[in-house]
């Protein structure tokens, strides 16, 4: 009881100096909590990994015979098989699902859960988004990396060269996906609302990204839907990673995909921080 007994009106020094700038310690706590929670809920691992796996095998096998890639892929990755084409799209789907599962908890957590306590703590407004983004990204990248083990089954090469390009691509895509999930979840007051947004907004973004079918060139609406869709660039970055060679040149489209995805992730983060900083008037 020694420390408690000293209490009176004195506060620990760190509070008196910078009460508003607690960022990394709480963010890391959020991150750690997300990872532990995930590992303790086995059904979430299955949901995020098995669903896209089944999707990949069924859709991939079904469309396979009738699929003709108009030539987006070249070199080693251009096996022409739809299972190979769909593989990067499935990786993005895994990350999208993981991000959704890890951010949907925000909705209930804010009203009755751990986040309530965080909202009355002297945190930087960036602390909660940072922790959640890091948590969601970690889980998404881990699961995507696990799925990459299956790449040879799709006829895609996976070695050090590919992994070196894949890792940053997966990290930025994971961050961006978690960001989208967080932005949708934070203002919501029911998980049903989240599902609605997911179906009419998040899934179409994924479908129109070149993940499921090649986006046409030209000037049609489908072309623009792909070109203006930030998810397309993530898919491109991941897809082109598989085309990595031992040479120093980066595969076509990789750098643009990576940079646009990173920018998109940054925008998601900035908007999230602003959203959290607003103390709601309606409460």
């Amino acid at each position: 009881m020694r420390l408690l007994r000293k209490r009176s009106t004195e506060l620990p020094k760190q509070f008196l100096m910078k009460p508003t700038h607690l960022l990394w310690t709480p963010a890391l706590a959020f991150w750690w909590r997300d990872v532990i929670r995930f590992l303790r809920q086995r059904n979430r691992i299955i949901g995020a990994l098995a669903t896209p796996l089944v999707f990949w095998m069924l859709v991939g096998s079904g469309f396979g015979p009738s699929f003709r890639n108009p030539g987006a892929l070249t070199s080693a990755a251009a096996t022409g098989s739809y299972l190979a084409y769909f593989f990067p799209g499935t990786l993005v789907l895994i990350m999208l699902f993981t991000a959704i599962f890890s951010t949907i908890s925000v909705i209930e957590d804010r009203r009755e859960g751990f986040l309530q306590g965080a909202l009355v703590a002297p945190l930087s407004p960036a602390a909660i988004p940072l922790g959640k983004f890091l948590g969601g990204t970690t889980l998404a990248v881990l699961q995507a990396a696990l799925f990459c083990v299956l790449a040879p089954l799709a006829g895609l090469p996976i070695g050090w060269h590919q992994a070196a390009l894949l890792l940053p691509a997966l990290v930025f895509v994971g961050f961006a996906m978690t960001g989208m999930g967080f932005l949708v979840a934070w203002p919501m007051d029911s998980t049903q609302g989240f599902h609605a947004i997911m179906n009419i907004f998040l899934m179409p973004l994924w479908m129109m990204s070149g993940a499921l079918f090649p986006m046409p060139a030209g000037t049609g609406w489908l072309y623009w839907a792909g070109a203006l869709n930030p998810v397309s660039y993530g898919v491109t970055a991941i897809r082109s990673s598989f085309a990595a060679t031992s040479g120093t040149a980066l595969p076509a489209g990789y750098l643009t995909g990576l940079v646009v995805t990173a920018l998109f992730a940054a925008v998601m983060f900035v908007i999230s921080v602003n959203l959290v900083a607003k103390r709601s008037k309606r409460n």
């Binding site: 506060l11 008196l16 009460p19 607690l22 310690t25 706590a29 009755e112 859960g113 309530q116 009355v120």
Partner: protein, 329 residues
């Protein structure tokens, strides 16, 4: 700033509306340092709105509130650093152990390393949680969970503790434990506690009580002061259908000169010599009176005396056919 030395919480003319409904209609109150203060009121009366504003979660439309001398709107960070908040719904992570929850909770306030560990040791000792540290929270009883919540708040050594309906879902034994813990915090560490509650028995344990109804503070004082102001004991009369409560109240007032009121179908009289008066009334109105009850005034009577209605959820329409709540004595 002398006010902030003597007062932990100062609320001044706070107003908050949700659309048409005024949840807070100009509430002012002060909570002294080291006090155990209870905000008593029916659900929907405004106390949770006040709680959320004090906890820096919600913004008032007008008026001010200060905690430890800091404004909850303009100096929220200062307030948060000094404030422990125990929510009605748990703010622990059910999938984590108590220890993991406490570590995360401490991290939210920048506590790490040996400092955090020693505070965890002390807080869990104060609340008798030492041997449950590695239990997963969702497997614990409600009482233990609530104690773990309070332990989490103690890590930051708060000056002020806000508790929203802290005994919700607790069995009587766990409620006693909770109050023992709050009293210990007050007596040993000078922590000021403000609880919201809709339970009379709970409010009666506080140093002072503020009664909130329809967004207004209708009474403020120690439980003894408030009940003493009733002026004697309370007689409640059940009335036969033929007569009707309004009619009987008029009859009684005209015959005895003693004011009688009607609350939810019963006639209610406060009187210093309640037993003698009751005997007299029973003799004079044998047909009209169907039941007679005499009781020491409780905080519920204070509520009825100040608002003219029974203490029930304010969102609900009063049901005239429902049996009137029995008082416990």
């Amino acid at each position: 700033m002398s006010e902030s030395k003597t007062h932990a919480i100062v609320v001044n003319d706070l107003v908050k509306s949700f659309g048409e409904r005024r949840a807070l209609d100009g509430i002012s109150l002060e909570v002294r340092r080291g006090e155990l203060f209870c905000l008593l009121g029916p659900n929907g009366g405004g106390k949770s709105t006040l709680f959320r504003i004090l906890a820096t979660l919600s913004l008032p439309d007008s008026g001010t509130a200060k905690i430890a001398g800091h404004d909850v709107v303009s100096a929220a960070a200062e307030v948060r650093a000094r404030l422990g908040v125990v929510f009605q719904s748990p703010s622990l992570d059910g999938k984590l152990t108590i220890l993991e929850n406490l570590r995360c909770g401490g991290a939210l306030y920048g506590l790490t390393g040996t400092e955090l560990e020693s505070r965890i040791a002390e807080a869990t000792k104060a609340l008798n949680l030492r041997d449950r540290l590695n239990d997963i929270v969702e497997t614990l009883s409600g009482g233990l969970q609530r104690r773990a919540e309070i332990a989490k708040c103690l890590l930051i050594r708060p000056e002020v503790l806000l508790l929203d309906e802290p005994s919700t879902g607790l069995d009587p034994g766990a409620r006693l434990d909770l109050w023992a813990a709050l009293e210990k915090l007050r007596s040993e560490h000078g922590v000021t506690s403000l609880c919201t509650t809709h339970l009379m028995e709970e409010a009666a344990r506080a140093d002072r009580v503020g009664i909130v109804s329809s967004g207004k503070l209708v009474a403020l004082g120690t439980p003894d002061e408030l009940t003493a102001a009733i002026g004697g004991d309370v007689i409640s009369l059940g009335v036969s259908k033929e007569t009707g409560a309004d009619q009987l109240a008029k009859l009684i007032t005209s015959k005895t000169g003693i004011p009688a009121t009607v609350v939810e179908g019963e006639v209610r009289i406060e009187h210093v010599e309640a037993y003698a008066l009751a005997a007299r009334l029973a003799g004079e109105f044998p047909k009209e009176i169907t039941s007679l009850r005499i009781a020491r005034p409780t905080l519920e009577d204070v509520f009825i005396a100040r608002t003219g209605r029974l203490f029930a959820d304010q969102d609900l329409e009063p049901d005239m056919n429902a049996p009137v709540k029995k008082k416990k004595h």
